[in-house]
Amino acid sequence: MEMVSAWLSWILPLVGAAATPLFAKLGRRVMGFAAVAFAGGAAVCAARLLPLLAEPGRLPIVSAVPWLTTPIQVNFGVLLDPLSVVVANVVAGISFFILIYCLGYMRDDPEVARFWTLMNLFIGSMLLLVLASNLLFTFVGWKLVGLCSYGLIGYYYRDEKKYWIGGPAPFSFISPSACGLKALLVTGAGDMLMLGGVLILYRYAGTLDLLQLYLTAPDWIARMAAAPGMIGLVSVLLLAGPVGKSAQFPLHEWLPEAMAGPGPVSALIHAATMVKSGVFLVARIVPMFALALWMVEIREAQLFFTLTAWVGAVTAFLAASQGLVALELKKALAYSTVSQIGYMMLALGLSGFSPEMLAAGYTAGVFHLITHAFFKACLFLCAGTVIHAVHSIYLHEMGGLRRSLPYTWAFMAMGGLSLMGVPPFPGFWSKDAVLKVCLESGQYALFAIAAAAAVFTAFYTMRMLGLVFHGAPAEGSPGGSVHAAEGRPSQTLACAVLAFGILALGVLGPRLEHGLTALFSSQLPVLPRPLFAEDPLPSFSPLLVPALAVACLLIGAVPAWLFYVQRSWKPEAILSRSNTLKLIHIFLWERWYIDRFYGWFFVGGIRALASWIAGRFETALDDAAHRRLPDLVGRGARRLIERMRSDALDLTDNLAYVLAATIVFLAAMLWWTR
């Protein structure tokens, strides 16, 4: 029975996507409700898997059919284990409420059939990615998720000016279609490298069946270790995919522009689907490399964990710092996503730093994925309502919306407080778990970076809430903040449910964390502590990490409160007094110049190379082949040709010398090889 639910949970949204054009014939409302119903069906099917978590002894369960038997054996199926069941429920549940929100948000859109098709395809692909029992089909879901994000980010493909993001003038804008293409290419770079890693994995393991990969990991990793540098190469290649999809440094630059699509699309990408896929995949791979490192004692496998942890920490810090100065509401939230995913990666990376940390790091990463899904979905949906209400994407054109959008304010505040890590909201518990893993694994540098990112997070979130809801309504706001109104009932309902989920998770946070730890511990390999392991792990007072987390929160939130909520401090005045602060501001506004560098080096470089090849090299080659060489031959054979050629039409002029040359060539060949 569970297996039927598992299959249906990813098939139903795909059927919904395929059926949307048919429902469109019955009217827009029917089409919308049908699309939501298919996503709802997926959520119900996923929920039916939850009882399995109470019986971890029954897991993992696989249901598969052969897809290819020759020349390689590949099975297609679903795998139910704690990770897939938990993540599938997060994906299906959150996506369902996002689609309910869309009923109101997209009601007036003239091309909404394309929207519903892509949304359901997105959800189905993500569920396929999560539930697939074979890494190849995880990759199929992975590619489809990328394709759907391309279609949805560039949804407003006509590139009308009102959908441009970036700016405000004089800063540059970017159109939705360019944003979609950027997302496709940047994540695609990671995808292709990851494909290389998966192929090498297959070469050594002889299977991509996930359970087989876990079971035989000590054998194939030992074979892989026999080739010098191979495990390092595979680590880098495999990690490239998640780094791209989850918008981690250095492939993070697509996500800030991914909010060019409709508001709920951003919610889906940031909370439930796209960016979570990378974290999920790292969680899938972690047990293999942990086995290699601690069971077979292959030190090279440590590289995977070190890279993951450092990529996560650097990204958390980098994106949070950029969020400090963001002027677009959804861009501020986008930076926060990049940063929070960094925390998840950090925790998963640290899970391999010692055998004792495996379950704790793993749980912290997945726990933060769950809490983040709720509060980020809520934040993005509320942001959609706000932008719709004020007809502006810029924070400085908002303000004072607390009174005109009271529900949205309440829901967004809950999401924001959770993002900041205010106790007892769920973000506090999960971030606390991540910070605790940093400290307990003895990685103080990583802890310091994560703590600094937490300070920034508190600051930019309070700043965002203050600029949107507090103070006086901005003058010259396009829609007029004063007359802004709440969204349609379905929008408010969806946000309310997510806000309730945030509250529930906050109350249940510690119990949930404990439950997840027990669940994952029952499935993760039991690892010995090998001889090469360093000193025992440090131990700290249980109150230390929460105290430090609250300290980080206060350091960040209090100044932001004074600047943007109480407005007793003037940020412009402080900025104008310090040249250093101005330089830092520019540096952060320019996104550390990374995007600019990529544009110059990769886009400009490849364009220049392509242009040189097409304009110079190819022209020279063409000239040599089609002019110089025939000239050379022609000059020597002119007399012969003149004798042999007929003065027929130009089509056949030179056939005679071709014939002569052919005969000579054939004779020479035959003589030479006689």
């Binding site: 590139d159 392509a610 097409a614």
Partner: protein, 504 residues
């Protein structure tokens, strides 16, 4: 009906072509429908043969004409030749339907100065020539003999020459000549290789080429053949003809031009790798490098193009190299993946290129800088173009995804202990991103954004279904093979893995 099945497949289109030619202008528009009908019939025959083969029947072999003990007109439909002949025939069928409207437009554009009765002869002339393509493709695929294969190759070259000279774009006569010369260049090497084999072994039969295996001569035979076939495959630096030819020919045969070039990959496997596997080994590494260079070079060349026809042209250079990569790796999986990729590529290229043709047909603009915003008025065409882009870029569920997967699995199989293959494999996989870049960038330029100024707004709309529906069917076929690739692999396996004792 199934008596002399292969003979019917190869020569029925030729008979219809002759009929159309003899009837001349009197055949009128019926020429197009007659062509489609005969191709539908031969496609059905090939499907029947495929079903029988999958059902466990032995490969179909028909021998008709023995010129000498060593030159015989014989056809063989085994697991390797049958998929090639079938897909090539399907493409001919699709494009014959696509051309029903397109050729009328093309004739009006080229011969607008002629009176209507003067123009009328060109329509049947197109189809009389067009039908020689399926004759050539199925002939090459099913031939068992080097000389017969050479005959059909030359037939293809001549057909292309006349079609381009009559129905191509502005510099069509000059480029047709160029194409002919390159075709002859290629054929001369092919013929030279065949004659060398014959003079030493006394036989043209491909199945018996193994007799020269292990001799020093085998190396030179392979080398001579490869030079000719590389020119046909447009491998760097023999690719210089491809952008010209693709840019100037009528778009309705673009997909067939991709088959014309890519079928050389089939010939390499059929005539060189299978009979002379051990002797082919020294060529593996150079082919890998050459294929990689061609892939990257072709992609970069494509990125710089602004002519929508040249975009597709240059992408062919890059795409064909994938099949070659599979050949260079010389593992059973890579060879089978390479052949599957060949079939997937020609389907993708047909959709991509023909959709580009639709854009030119509707807008009369070739420069993508003068296009834009077409998706709003041509949604089905945009969907087709994106499907073509996805087929070329190897997105699931299209067959190219499965093909690429199998192909690279084979390459990485070789990569264990072979640093070159590993490097080529990793760069090759990463280079797929360039395909994504140029196909989706082209889609953005042509279909997204605001409508380009100067385009006649009212006239811009999706073409008639007779043009788009066959292409959608092809997209459907690619999806079907992507979801169920086993059907192709089951056919290829016995011939490639089963045919090579070293790989069993």
């Amino acid at each position: 009906m199934t008596d002399h099945l292969l003979l019917q497949v190869v020569f029925l289109p030729a008979a219809v072509a002759l009929g159309i030619f003899l009837l001349g202008p009197r055949s009128g528009k019926a020429a197009g429908w007659a062509s489609a009908l005969v191709l539908a019939y031969t496609t059905g025959l090939l499907a029947l043969a495929g079903k029988a083969l999958l059902g466990g029947d032995p490969p179909l072999r028909e021998t008709y004409f023995v010129l000498s003990p060593h030159i015989r007109l014989a056809f063989l439909a085994d697991g390797l030749s049958l998929p090639v002949a079938f897909i090539a025939n399907v493409l001919c069928l699709v494009l014959s339907l696509f051309s029903l409207r397109y050729v009328t437009y093309r004739i009006e554009a080229i011969y607008e100065g002629l009176p209507p009765e003067g123009r009328r002869k060109y329509y049947p002339r197109f189809y009389a020539l067009f039908l020689l393509f399926p004759v050539g493709f199925t002939g090459v695929a099913l031939a068992t003999n080097l000389i017969v294969m050479y005959f059909f190759l030359e037939l293809l070259t001549l057909t292309l020459y006349f079609l381009m000279a009559y129905f191509g774009y502005i510099r069509r006569v000059r480029i047709a000549m160029m194409c002919l010369l390159w075709g002859i260049f290629s054929a001369v090497f092919f013929l030279a290789g065949s004659l060398i084999v014959y003079t030493h072994h006394g036989d043209f039969e491909i199945a018996r080429m193994g007799a020269i295996a292990g001799t020093p001569l085998a190396f030179w035979v392979i080398a001579v053949f490869l030079v000719g076939l590389f020119a046909k495959l447009a491998v760097f630096p023999f690719h210089v003809w491809m952008p010209w030819v693709h840019a100037e020919h009528p778009t309705c045969i673009a997909g067939l031009l991709a088959v014309y070039a890519n079928i050389a990959a089939y010939i390499i496997v059929r005539a060189l790798v299978l009979p002379l596997y051990a002797d082919f080994q020294p060529f593996g590494a150079p082919i890998l490098v050459l294929a990689l260079v061609t892939m990257v070079y072709g992609s970069l060349l494509t990125l710089a193009q602004t002519d929508i026809k040249r975009i597709a042209a240059c992408s062919t250079i890059s795409q064909i190299a994938y099949s070659l990569l599979g050949i260079g790796a010389l593992t059973a999986v890579s060879l089978e993946g390479g052949m599957f990729f060949f079939l997937s590529h020609i389907m993708g290229k047909t959709v991509f290129f023909s959709t580009a043709g639709i854009v030119v047909y509707v807008t009369h603009v070739r420069d993508v800088r003068g296009l834009g915003g077409l998706a709003a008025r041509m949604p089905l065409t945009a969907l087709l173009f994106l499907s073509g882009a996805m087929m070329l870029s190897g997105f699931p569920p299209f067959s190219s995804f499965a093909a690429e997967w199998i192909l690279f699995t084979g390459i990485f199989e070789r990569a264990a202990g072979d640093d070159l293959a590993l490097t080529v494999g990793v760069i090759g996989v990463a280079a797929i991103l360039l395909t994504v870049a140029y196909t989706f960038q082209a889609a953005r330029r042509v279909f997204y954004g605001p409508p380009a100024p100067g385009l006649p707004g009212e006239a811009i709309q999706d073409p008639p279904l007779s043009m788009s529906l066959p292409l959608f069917c092809l997209v459907g076929l690619s999806i079907a093979l992507g979801i169920y690739p086993e059907v192709v692999m089951d056919l290829l396996r016995p011939v490639i893995s089963g045919g090579l004792p070293a790989l069993r």
